[in-house]
């Protein structure tokens, strides 16, 4: 268990955050289309939460590395070049004999339904280079994407094991959705089974509902704690968040004053939270800073925005 006023000892390592998971192409429709799929024009973007978080934390002033797998194809080359243009280290990104994963999103005013084309992303393997990257990092982060399919799942099981033995802080985004999961498999059960093996989880209300069914937020929080979660940060959209370490439960009001685009707001939280922990803040302070970074991001369009250094955000939000 973590005391909220503790400063988590993260040791002295050359890298701060290791983000492990999907790097992919988002192919997004140019127009809104409510169900008919008549829209023909699409635009490609680089996507995937790990690279978004890694880029964010760099801008906030800490170091990061990405571990992913992309195809030996034009899309893979494009994604690597995009990251290199942002001065990211791409040496942890594996090139595999598969198509670079792709998500088609046809924009909708109701609920956009993505179509998933997964191939390279879950071919990520555990190798000596990944082992070294874990040993050199303070925090490791991953979401449900890489654990949803083998062999990436086995890779992540090794990552968790190594990270635990090397004393890294492990953050897990339980963004469970049956559509990304291996067909015919009980993904919710697997997600629940690894919650006790990580340190911090940040479910949304929707994530909790997909895992446990509908219930009140406080009850959902308890279910995560019963599964062995050490620190649960449950986000409630415009209603802020509730956080518990199993001993103390806190409510956080949303710090957002202007909401332009919610894309990437959760990853912005993770980014601020991790950057604050690395900079020596307590868990309680890091939570406030995470929500501040998320509120900052909400003012701009896009999953990754030009964040200032963490101390600028800290001052802006009077934290």
């Amino acid at each position: 268990m973590f005391e909220l006023d503790d400063i988590i000892p993260l040791g002295d390592k050359p890298n701060d955050l290791l983000a492990v998971g999907e790097l992919l192409i988002d192919m997004i429709s140019n127009e809104y289309d409510d169900g008919s799929f008549e829209c023909d024009g699409y635009t490609k973007f680089s996507g995937g939460a790990p690279s978004n978080i890694a880029m964010n934390v760099n801008r906030l002033g800490i170091r990061s590395e990405i571990v992913s797998a992309v195809g030996n194809d034009g899309f893979g080359t494009y994604l690597l070049r995009r990251l290199q243009q942002e001065d990211m280290d791409t040496k942890g990104i594996q090139r595999v004999d598969a198509s670079t994963s792709l998500v088609v999103v046809t924009k909708s005013r109701t609920t956009p339904i993505p179509i998933f084309y997964r191939d390279a992303d879950y071919q990520m393997t555990f190798d000596a280079s990944l082992e070294q990257r874990i040993a050199n990092s303070k925090i490791v982060h991953f979401s449900c994407w890489p654990i949803s399919r083998t062999p990436a799942r086995h890779t992540l099981e090794r990552v968790i094991e190594e990270a635990r033995s090397q004393g890294l802080l492990i953050g897990f985004d339980p963004n469970y959705h049956p559509m990304i999961w291996q067909r015919g498999e009980d993904g919710a059960q697997y997600v629940k089974s690894i919650i006790s093996k990580v340190d911090v989880i940040k479910p949304s209300e929707d994530d909790a509902e997909r895992l446990f069914g509908k219930d009140e937020p406080v009850k959902q929080l308890e279910k995560f704690l019963e599964l062995g979660a050490k620190l649960v940060i449950m986000t409630l959209g415009k209603d802020g968040a509730i956080v518990s370490n199993g001993k103390e439960t806190l409510s956080f009001d949303s710090l957002a004053t202007e909401i332009v685009d919610t894309t990437g707001a959760g990853d912005a939280f993770w980014s601020g939270f991790y950057a604050a922990l690395i900079k020596g803040h307590s868990i309680r302070e890091a939570l406030h800073l995470g929500f501040a970074v998320s509120a900052y991001k909400l003012r701009f369009t896009g999953a990754v925005v030009h964040l200032p250094r963490l101390d600028v955000i800290k001052e802006q939000f009077s934290l």
Copy 2:
């Protein structure tokens, strides 16, 4: 063996051509892009040779049905609607729990390298409805797509078996390419193994080279005959084609006078050839008519163009 002046007896069945195989989305870049993949804009099109051939033959004046599998997603719904708008029967198209297959083509002035996202197309199963469609048809056509992956391969093995026992003419496009094949499997070997089970094959020079290595066209033709092919139509691009039934080898000059776009020229040949056989022409006449339809198509942009009835083309080309 077929005598070239024979009229193939195709019996009295309610449907003329059954085209079995891939129905998918082609996502094509709006601009030419030679290797850098910097082009961001793409446009979706409906794709897949079976539906192209089925639509072509309808325009030429014979009846057709398509058997394919698409996903339970927006792309699948879009593809069915497109076919319905063309008055095609879509009842043979299976909806499966997978993403509608997608091919991304980034246009290039050198060689465009497609990225394949296959999922729903190879989930096609053999069912009572497919069995009935075979019994009701005179000709069945397929290409390398459905045989390149299981379970669709097993479905096609059943299709071939049923078609043979019901006396259908079987046309096979041996458009072998390792990129669509199941990774780690010798696709060329499999393609060779089914050549003796079909009636007509139409390899291009490139197909022959991928199957046998480089050699002179006449030598390649012999290799197909040695594998048990009954009628081989080997296309040589602007140099026309050579055709053999194992007894007689004919050369055909290209009938093209104006080449605007070569996309779909091979499928236009098949369409004209099948339509002519159905209308009671001999194999020799059907070959001429197939090349005439292909030459007609070359004057227009797109895989499927507004073909006139077969007798109009026959007259235009003085056949």
